[in-house]
Symmetry: D2
Subunit: 420 residues, 4 copies
Amino acid sequence: MNTQILEQMESEVRTYSRSFPTVFTKAQNAYLFTEDGKRYIDFLAGAGVLNYGHNHPVLKKALIDYISSDGIIHGLDMWTAAKRDFLEALDEVILKPRGLDYKVHFPGPTGTNAIEAAIRLARKISGRHNIVSFTNGFHGVTMGALATTGNAKFRDAAGLPAQGAQFVPFDGYMGEGIDTVAYLDKLLKDSSSGLDRPAAVLVETVQGEGGINPASIEWLQRLDALCREHKILLIIDDIQAGCGRTGKFFSFEHANIVPDMVCNSKSLSASGVPFAMVLMRPELDQWKPSQYNGTFRGHALAFVTGAAALRHFWSDDKFERDILRKGRIVEERFQKIAAKARENGFEAHEKGRGLMRGIDVRSGELADAITSRCFEQGLIIETSGHSGQVVKCLCPLTIRDEDLLEALDIIEENAAAVLK
Amino acid sequence: MNTQILEQMESEVRTYSRSFPTVFTKAQNAYLFTEDGKRYIDFLAGAGVLNYGHNHPVLKKALIDYISSDGIIHGLDMWTAAKRDFLEALDEVILKPRGLDYKVHFPGPTGTNAIEAAIRLARKISGRHNIVSFTNGFHGVTMGALATTGNAKFRDAAGLPAQGAQFVPFDGYMGEGIDTVAYLDKLLKDSSSGLDRPAAVLVETVQGEGGINPASIEWLQRLDALCREHKILLIIDDIQAGCGRTGKFFSFEHANIVPDMVCNSKSLSASGVPFAMVLMRPELDQWKPSQYNGTFRGHALAFVTGAAALRHFWSDDKFERDILRKGRIVEERFQKIAAKARENGFEAHEKGRGLMRGIDVRSGELADAITSRCFEQGLIIETSGHSGQVVKCLCPLTIRDEDLLEALDIIEENAAAVLK
Amino acid sequence: MNTQILEQMESEVRTYSRSFPTVFTKAQNAYLFTEDGKRYIDFLAGAGVLNYGHNHPVLKKALIDYISSDGIIHGLDMWTAAKRDFLEALDEVILKPRGLDYKVHFPGPTGTNAIEAAIRLARKISGRHNIVSFTNGFHGVTMGALATTGNAKFRDAAGLPAQGAQFVPFDGYMGEGIDTVAYLDKLLKDSSSGLDRPAAVLVETVQGEGGINPASIEWLQRLDALCREHKILLIIDDIQAGCGRTGKFFSFEHANIVPDMVCNSKSLSASGVPFAMVLMRPELDQWKPSQYNGTFRGHALAFVTGAAALRHFWSDDKFERDILRKGRIVEERFQKIAAKARENGFEAHEKGRGLMRGIDVRSGELADAITSRCFEQGLIIETSGHSGQVVKCLCPLTIRDEDLLEALDIIEENAAAVLK
Amino acid sequence: MNTQILEQMESEVRTYSRSFPTVFTKAQNAYLFTEDGKRYIDFLAGAGVLNYGHNHPVLKKALIDYISSDGIIHGLDMWTAAKRDFLEALDEVILKPRGLDYKVHFPGPTGTNAIEAAIRLARKISGRHNIVSFTNGFHGVTMGALATTGNAKFRDAAGLPAQGAQFVPFDGYMGEGIDTVAYLDKLLKDSSSGLDRPAAVLVETVQGEGGINPASIEWLQRLDALCREHKILLIIDDIQAGCGRTGKFFSFEHANIVPDMVCNSKSLSASGVPFAMVLMRPELDQWKPSQYNGTFRGHALAFVTGAAALRHFWSDDKFERDILRKGRIVEERFQKIAAKARENGFEAHEKGRGLMRGIDVRSGELADAITSRCFEQGLIIETSGHSGQVVKCLCPLTIRDEDLLEALDIIEENAAAVLK
């Protein structure tokens, strides 16, 4: 396997090729295949991009058909039949059945771009600059989004202070019994608290990069109520937790709330190609034409597979129920693994929602030891959290049960070997 | 043609569907086709994304073959055969023949992301925050890039000052005979000028959104020398002017300079899918692993068509020569149109380099009147410049001569009708 | 009493002339006299500037002697005998007896300027930009200091985000039993908390404008230890609480800690003229000559009275003991007033340290009603806190017992009348 | 002469005691006396603070009388008879005779504080953040003012980017024949210039720290007209050039313009004590009560001597005429010195207005050599300009002719010795 040019030419910034130093060539659903024919189960799924697996036949066909027919691949934000079809599918399959009335902004095709667009709109509408973000939140690394991202690794590399956001503690951050929404309320009501009256609150319902931290349903509901009370926009970053990852299309459906804006990306294109959107309550669409631009705002291949996926997976509740069922399988096994670790004197615990799950082993070194061993045994799996202390499951939602169980066996065996 | 859902659901921020209010379905090379069968010549080409035209057969085949073979579409920044092949093609076809030695960073797949990555690296290396940017420069709208972008439309909508850059006048901005590199030199040498010692100078060799303003070769060379003298990094934003647009693969080749970093995007994927890269001199690759991240950093469909295009178009100098030949055709016709307008009392003039050309008519209204009429006659063409005063040609570099001439006839006729 | 020109010509920004709409002409110790001969007891003392009372005979004599002798009043930061004498007094009377070894920076003559200088030095030394500040902290309103000041009134008027500081909860802010130093420790240890590793922690031991909130001795000690552990500079803003106000010359003496830097102003000149200094551990004096400047850095009248006051009041411990004795008188009376209010159903309580004391009545309106009535009865007294809910005592430390008791009687009577 | 404690205890940031390493004790008009009885002529005058000389008998008497009568020295911004008297004097002696209608804001007592207040008000009124400042401008070093100050020495030490201002070239900066007001006009009219539409233009009519650079009268008039045209506030920083320094009370009187706001400080107290004010057109007084505060906003000793000086010096035009007369003496002698230097092959030239004059010798080392020699011969004189290349005259306006001539002889002799 020739990796010389890869090692030579690619910047030292490269990440995943260090954890998985092999060359991949093909992929099907939950399998990744290397050049020398080795098969891996994919429990990373492009960090949540491949909720529908690699190269799903329905989406693959849609993609090939579209390209074969000389469909427009790129046309800036002109009107295309592909865009219209995506909007129709979104409206019919997702929004209407959930009673949601949103307008759609296609910014640049990445999550960070959706965040930049959403917070800019919130600032424009409110005339205020501040965005409330949460400890361990991750919302991207372009300069506007970076201000809302907690990771020092990115913030310190920025070369100037990332401006425009203030952090408050996420659900559970201050320990049991301390209500961090009440604390935010106190800061908002105290005109000398130092918290600038915010344009918006930006939150992940389940923090992904932050360590698979689910906010409790009640906390989300109180956060939503707080935003209404103080007339602050609530923006849900559903980039990683959306598109079914938690068992609902939108992760906030669990809490029965209707955010003012929603940012989606990652699995939105369904095929792996870059794609992002911002949903906003219609009265918030105060953009003037071309006030936020970008060359790749809504490209057609994403529309094609995005629409096909919405229709294929979300027209009834079968897919949802299947995600929740698999989620329970992972949950139980992760709880068992954590329990066994605790028996052996390790402070481990399971956490997550739907198929966004992790085992927190309180140590990046231990977590790395587990995932490295898993990789040797044919499982692609990564860690998250401020010190990489959480072994996380982000498998395709479409994974076959036998693959899921095989992967869980690998994790269990290696967790046991490390945490003994 | 049903446009209702498009008008209803898409944010008011939409732009091009206002200039071209019709639904497009198919495209081939320089043609765009609408749902009701109307054919347009495309003189916009995705704002420079489609240098190789729509759905080029070689690229289309590469794309379909790859997808059919279950190639990996998304794998974060893991090593894939597709990435390796792209790097090989880049090295063999582009870098080595030009004597260039660059390392490659794949940030998020958009131009603005490449800019954010490049300026962040420059800040990190230098320990300084300031980026020198130029009047009428455009480098993207995410918050970090926005600081270097001159347009008030975007800057005012940002809701907080875009920080970290200072503007100096571009070549020719202060009128004939005033050397703006000398002015920058004076500012740099004067410790009370208010110009913070910069980490980098960021410049387009031909300003695209700013109005198709080519910097003179001599100015670029002196700017390069100035950067060396003051030990400031020179970053070329070749997002719009690169990939052959000006007649060379890199626009800075005309000036025989070797920038410290180069940002590419737009036509880099060759097919229209999002893709971006930052090239940097090897000693500048001071990134630590994962210090700049993003979900879509290098996606495989872009690698596949990107590599195919490099090999197909750039293995010899035929393509270059053809671009320059067509460029001269456009230049002459645009000069003729401008001359005629001046005869009629309008202050028009031609400008540009290669196939990045414009007619400046000194009025956004006049320019709009011309492009609107062109659209009615089957030509997609847009304006640029601070008040949209420049009618611009960004046609596919692969456009057939008869289509090019037809388009130029349309422009000539309508310019004559408006500027009379 | 002619107030017409005052009302006409002075900006609407004027404050205290609204609470006390009369023209003052003379003052002695704790008395203020108006043009029409009315006598007021001064419980505001220039917001803590007049700790030694108005026109103390010793200081008045020093001032007149100096001016009569044609002493230099202003000489930038040249060496003067007056400056030398002040430094000698500071060293002999204050620093040496307390075992303190500090170098002295005279920035501009105001508190906000001392804060700007101290945080700039902390940034310069550490190479980090962030300053940790606390809820309800007040450190001045020039743009650098403003970033560390919590009050929305000033922050909102600034017209751009005040940058460079992050707020954490002050002692007691989150309620009993929640240790806010432990929370800060957690934020510092969590690399994804969003708290940028700070250059310094800036804190008042007793928050003045924030509502006379004393940090507990134990909290201050743990904050000091935390700063040592994390190698973060500890800056004490002793502008209001210093110069004896809490019963010790420096307010942090109560906690037996030695801050890295100390900011003094207000009563430092002793006479009421503007004056400020920054004390710093010698190894922190990394300023280069003239790297921080200002026209009024150390003016001689302040040196003269400042030195005289240090020698007169601080050469033994009589003054300290007297402050503490008077502090207990105020404390007991304020506790009694608060207790009575609680009997009447109001949520009042006493707080403070030394002669920096307040009664928190939980309502700006009630507090205003009390102070307005007091003014009518000859007592100048103000409120503080985020909603002006604290009636505060900042009387001269030199107040005669009979005047102190008279003032307390007035407060007691009017508090009783309002809180009934 | 004991300087040990001064060298030991004072921060390394100290400046003037390095140029003049001796201890001063007394001063009268233009004389400074050291502890060991040496007499110096003062051509620095506290960097323009002592326009009326040291210890002027009229002002000294006013000061001693006020203190002797137990006048209030500090009372925050309460109404005092002293403040009323100052406002009356300002109105009667200065504003009314000049047809000016201004309201008065007393911020903190320093120039930088006046600048912070003025630009904050401009931002508040306009809703825009940007302040246009000029190359080589100096407006103070607190963080808000620093953004408008060009000196790298201060900007680099700040530890974070000073935000909120953009620089344009001052009159003459780009060489003869280049109209920098026209350039600013172009930037303002070009919506892609990168110049954010400003709240205000902030300018010194004669740059002090920048090197005694007088803007031409015509340039100031066109700048004023440009501000009217674009509805941008014009703020004159008259901190150094005001109070008669250029031969008129306000330096902008020469240009017959009426700025929207004026910042004064330095010689405003007349005695050397800290004092500052912002004048603003009445309709701009949109401050809300207490929206900008500070402990030393308007202290009474400054009011007393400030009022006395206005009445003593400005009630008729004798003082003005005398300043202009002396200014011509300095001008002629400086021209002669410069001419002689040019004869010897040095590029020297005279510049300035009124008694704010300098000889630019194009080299900080040469200028230092001259001023050092002058000091040895009994003349206190300093340099200014980005590299300290200008030997400057900022003598008391009240200097006796014989002292002026003696000082000029010293300069001439030493300039000749150095520039030979």
